[in-house]
């Protein structure tokens, strides 16, 4: 909702005054930052409220605003001391966000989330009606949801059976969980991996089994936030592919450089594990041709020959 002019200012004042009543003596700077306005704008809002109040408009009827040493104290504003109900867009944004958390393992347990949603729905009333019209689906952890939530809550070590797609195998390892991240609709566990003795990120839907161990997780400081799960700089392989007409989407789907477009599209992809590239080429069944590295070409050939042999009565 974008509102300007008098309606915008009034909407802000009706939110500002109850907020200030809760925080007598809050500084102008803090209040302005919280409401995303300049200090001048805040001063003019307050100046305006000062002239308003109950019918009669005698001094006792008016809202009292005192500004001493840039600290705000509002009194005598009982009629508008409670905030206005949630507007529909406010209710929708908050509730849709909360509902998205349902599939993310929670250190508090799922019932807490349900309670918060129920209370807010009740408090929002009609404004909550539309909240199911905005839905964020997050891929969670499935069956290991409980174990992950418990490990985070109790700060304990986890034993993971983790599927590594590039190698197409399940690995066993112990990890000390640090935190959960949600990126592009997938949830990831960031943890200290004792097998690699390094920080690792695990996609939750690839965790086949998670068991909470009795060992407490060793305390480690939370590393700075990451914005990207895949770091192309760190990818050791450069895979070159000739891309046929039916597979041109490949260049949009993965970060890559276009090396040639004529007579055919040739792209180069940074790849962390050749196994991933082998699967991609095999999946695309001849519409993509590996050009380099030779290890990739060999791996594709070996896999395809072996697999095909089984259909020819092998």
């Amino acid at each position: 909702m974008t509102v300007g002019g008098a309606v915008g200012q009034l909407t802000r004042l009706l939110a500002l005054i109850p907020w200030l009543l809760q925080r007598p003596g809050v500084s102008i700077a803090v209040a302005a930052a919280e409401f995303g306005i300049t200090e001048d704008q805040l001063r003019s809002d307050l100046g305006l409220a000062f002239f308003c109040g109950l019918p009669g408009h005698l001094p006792d009827d008016l809202i009292d605003v005192s500004l001493e040493d840039d600290r705000i104290v509002v009194t005598n504003a009982d009629t508008i001391s409670r905030p206005l109900r949630l507007a529909p867009d406010e209710a929708v944004a908050l509730l849709a966000g909360l509902r998205a958390l349902a599939d993310v393992p929670s250190p508090t347990g799922p019932d807490v989330l349900d309670r918060v949603i129920a209370k807010l729905e009740r408090a929002a009333g009609d404004a909550a009606d539309a909240h199911r019209n905005v839905t964020v689906a997050i891929e969670g952890a499935g069956p290991s949801q409980e174990a992950l939530g418990a490990a985070l809550r109790e700060r304990r070590r986890l034993a993971l059976e983790y599927y590594v797609p590039a190698r197409d195998e399940v690995t066993s390892r112990e990890v000390d969980p640090i935190r959960l991240l949600v990126v592009d609709g997938h949830t990831y566990l960031e943890a200290w991996c004792l097998l690699a003795d390094d920080l690792r990120i695990f996609r939750l839907d690839r965790i086949q089994q998670a068991t909470v161990l009795d060992t407490p997780a060793s305390a480690r400081s939370v590393p700075p936030e990451r914005s990207m799960i895949f770091d192309s700089e760190a990818a050791p392989w450069r895979v070159r592919l000739a891309v046929g007409k039916n597979a041109e989407w490949v260049q949009d789907a993965y970060p890559c450089d276009v090396l040639a477009t004529d007579p055919e599209l040739v792209v180069e992809l940074p790849v962390a594990d050749l196994g991933w590239a082998r699967q991609l080429v095999l999946r695309l069944g001849g519409t993509v041709r590996p050009l380099a590295p030779p290890e990739l070409i060999e791996a594709v050939r070996r896999d395809a020959e072996q697999a095909l042999g089984r259909y020819r009565g092998g």
Binding site: A6, V7, Q9, L10, A15, P18, W19, E34, L48, C52, G53, L54, T79, I80, R82, P83, L84, R85, D89, A91, A93, A100, L101, V104, S106, V116, K119, R122, A123, R132, V134, T135, A137, I138, D168, P177, I178, R179, L180, L181, V182, G185, T187, R206, V222, Q279, L280, L282, R283, G285, G286, T287, R289, P290, L291, I297, A307, R310, Y311, R312
Partner: protein, 327 residues
Amino acid sequence: MAAPRTERLLNLVICLLASTRFLTKDQVRRAVPQYADCATDEAFERMFERDKDDLREMGIPLETGSNEVLFDDEIGYRIPRDAYALPEVSFDSQELAVLGVAARMWQHATLAGATGRAIRKLESAGIDVDRDALSVVEPRIDAAEPAFAALWDAVQQRRRVRFEYARGGGTVAERALQPWGLVSWHGRWYVVGHDEDRDDTRVFRLSRVLGEVSPIGPTGSVVVPDGVDISASVRMLARPAPTQLGRLRIAAGRALPLRRLGTVVVEEPDAVVVDVPYDDVEQLASTVTGFGPAVLAISPVELCDAVARRLTSTLRSLAVAGSGEGA
């Protein structure tokens, strides 16, 4: 100038909230100083009408009625406090922590702004939202598609929209849509609604919406049919309902994503036989071939043929690469 109008509106809100009885227009005119200054009745009438519209637009519950139902009293106005104010609500410390996570999850300015206003209202009602709590859970939800803000507004206002949409093969078509809702699925946003040109339910990917989304017609004109499950319709349309079963033998510990899609029929010492539902045989064949010799298609014949054909053309393409590139 906004300030005198804001002042008048604030006085109006306070006066209507303070009164438990309906106030007649004359009483309102006397109670709000800025109205008392009106030179003529017409000027006041015009001003008051406009102010009522503004309050209602803000979501302030302005009631009309009369105090004496039996007498044909003049119509009056009031704002019932319990309908105006955020109801009393309280949260325990765990619930406050969850609210704190929700407060920081949206990255998009429109949604972050709306969430921020909601959280501030809760805080203004004395609820101490723990904004730094549960730092072990950091969900970030973005909406990078340029069309998001306009479609969010349209869904909130129940307003029809028009936009240009890129179809496969590089063609562009204009669409008129009654938007019902927005869904984020695997990190991508979709809008679900009634496509007026096709007279049917359609799902559009926001990243394929080109240029501006123009609202058409009045707000409130879109009616979401009862029982529509927005997120289910996206899943359904994005992935057609599987109609057939393919039987696969999957080597132990391999091809987990494929194994998850199906039901295990037989457990063997070094493999499992799994029935996987599918709709598009080429799509399943593609997934199967990706795992190389770890997955063998057993039935139906069309699936086995499709897999074998794909493997054959992969090998043929390698022969081309070998002779042409000398790689």
